[in-house]
Amino acid sequence: MAATLPPPRLLPSGDSAVTVEFSRTIDDAANQRVLALDKALAANPIDGITETVPTYRSLLVHYDPGKIGFDALGDKLLPIAIQPPPPVTKTRRWRIPVAYGGEHGIDLEDVAKALNTTPDDIVARHAGGDYKVAMIGFTPGWSYLSGLDKSLHMSRRQNPRLLTPAGTISIGGVQAGIQCLAAPSGWHLLGRTPVRTYQLHRNPTFLTEPGDRVTFFAIDHKTFEELDRAAEAGEIVAEQVNA
């Protein structure tokens, strides 16, 4: 049997949820453990758990204290949480079209200037990345990606914008993101995608899952308009590659 890993911290989030924290920082190994625990709980549910929410570094486990108490739940979670994550055998990969720069990516030029390079180079580095959906949160479909090229790591904006467009593709700190709905953001806006990671009345309603792989490819603004219309009509417009 493989050696077990250090136990996560079990942090009370009130009387009906526990945060299973594997790391305090953004850490891909920790994220793998989060997703592995999430998957293990989906495969073998513990009675009383009502919902799980994976994040970069922790799994928030919602439960019904009428069915299981904090200590009893912890006793059941810990033995699963210390198992090494099994190798990932099947992953979905999404190829996401992005219209970079111009009105769709109003920070592209400033990011290039701040990093002493050209907008084309920023696009190449961003689109050249191999990303993983580490978590989805904040607003429906907002996919937080790990795997951003180190040369693109930069602080968030001093003044967050109160509203940024639906479909915004942005970077902030060490993270990249796909934003679905219009929302406030302090990240740097590089482009927009016509892909809806969340769309009511479409099957599936949510496109991305934590653990999915993501790559981007550049499209021109005319193609964006065409794909945007198709997406509005319910087409997925992202290319899915199963690996």
Binding site: G14, T25, E51, Y56, S58, F138, P140, P210
Partner: protein, 345 residues
């Protein structure tokens, strides 16, 4: 079918129910009633399931008119004057509006949210099992936004069932109880004590997403940025300016500020019903106590129907009765801390 028409309504009023569960992993906000006990009480009065969709009425007044037939309704939650054509209608009772009659509700007198339940419930398109309005995500049915005058609900014709009142369990009084964590270790003992020992007020800029707390600034040990993790109803996060925010039903599913404590399930409705500007305190309780209270709270909601009584001899609220010029009855203070008049036999 009858119709219930919104004749007038203030801001911060919307259709709410038990909320949208199961998709927080996709960033889908839960939403749902700010005061679940009051929602359940109003629903129970008209024979609905406790967390059926009802109208959550914000602090301002509202009025509703029955059309194309009679409509049976009930109100519970933040007390306010209510009447139908000048006849007072008590909180925590049911009432049948005849075709053309208008129920008028005044401002909340203490608290913020009052629930108007409609017999048979509200029909609409369920998304993740819920009709709850989440205006930011364009969710909610029949109107994916706060209610406006002229909106209407297609509802069951009144059944003619006898009118009921409900004797609600005595609400807890005193401090709002919290369990420390999940990030209480981001604060030193002095700042945890400052949080627990200070008087707080809810800022007027609060909404269904979060209640901003006014009081002393709480300082972090290691700065205010943490890597985003999951939130729950009642998470108390402390942003950079040190002014805590209690996350409420329209919270984002994840957040990047340290959370010093979490309001216990049994007290979230009490916090929701604390008026802006009213001073209150927090008190830390053990996990065992919090979970015991959560179980009792769930049990109280599931057994509300045992608390139904015939509406005869109904307790009417004092202001409504004073307005109706019926002074002279015995007055007593009841559990909810609101003054009510018991009609003498």
């Amino acid at each position: 079918m009858s119709r219930l028409v919104v004749a007038s309504i203030g801001p911060a009023s919307s259709v709410q129910d038990g909320g949208r569960h199961g998709a927080q992993r996709y960033g889908l906000t839960v939403s749902g009633a700010m005061d679940r006990l009051a929602l359940a009480a109003a629903n129970t009065l008209v024979g609905n399931a406790p967390f059926a969709a009802a109208v959550e009425i914000g602090p301002f007044g509202a009025s509703f008119t029955a059309r194309d037939g009679a409509v049976r309704v009930a109100i519970s939650g933040a007390p306010r004057n209510a009447d139908v054509a000048g006849n007072p209608f008590a909180m925590d009772t049911s009432l049948t509006l005849k075709d053309g009659e208008t129920l008028t509700l005044g401002f909340a007198r203490g608290g913020a949210f009052t629930y108007l339940a409609i017999e048979g419930g509200i029909t609409g398109e369920l998304v993740f099992g819920s009709l709850a309005v989440n205006a930011r995500a364009g969710l909610g049915s029949p109107y994916p936004r706060p209610l406006q005058a002229g909106d209407e609900f297609s509802v069951d014709a009144a059944s003619g069932a006898p009118e009921m009142r409900i004797e609600l369990p005595k609400p807890a009084s005193g401090p709002i109880r919290v369990v420390l964590g999940p990030q209480d270790d981001e604060f030193d003992d002095a700042n945890k004590a400052l949080f627990l020992n200070s008087e707080w007020k809810i800022s007027a800029t609060s909404d269904r997403m979060g209640y901003r707390l006014e009081g002393p600034a709480i300082k972090h040990l290691h700065g205010h940025n943490i890597v985003s993790d999951g939130t729950v109803n009642g998470s108390i996060q402390v942003p950079g300016n040190g002014a805590p925010i209690a996350l409420m039903m329209d919270r984002g599913t994840s957040g990047g500020y340290p959370k010093i404590a979490t309001v216990i399930t049994a007290d979230i409705g009490r916090l929701a019903q604390t008026s802006a500007g009213t001073a209150f305190r927090f008190k830390a309780v053990s996990m065992a106590e919090a979970q015991d209270e959560a179980r009792k709270f769930a049990q109280a909601i599931q057994t509300l129907h045992d608390r139904l009584r015939p509406a005869d001899g109904v307790a009417l609220n004092l202001e409504a009765l004073s307005d109706a010029n019926v002074a002279g009855h015995a007055v007593n203070a009841v559990d909810a801390g609101t003054w009510q008049v018991t009609a003498e036999p």
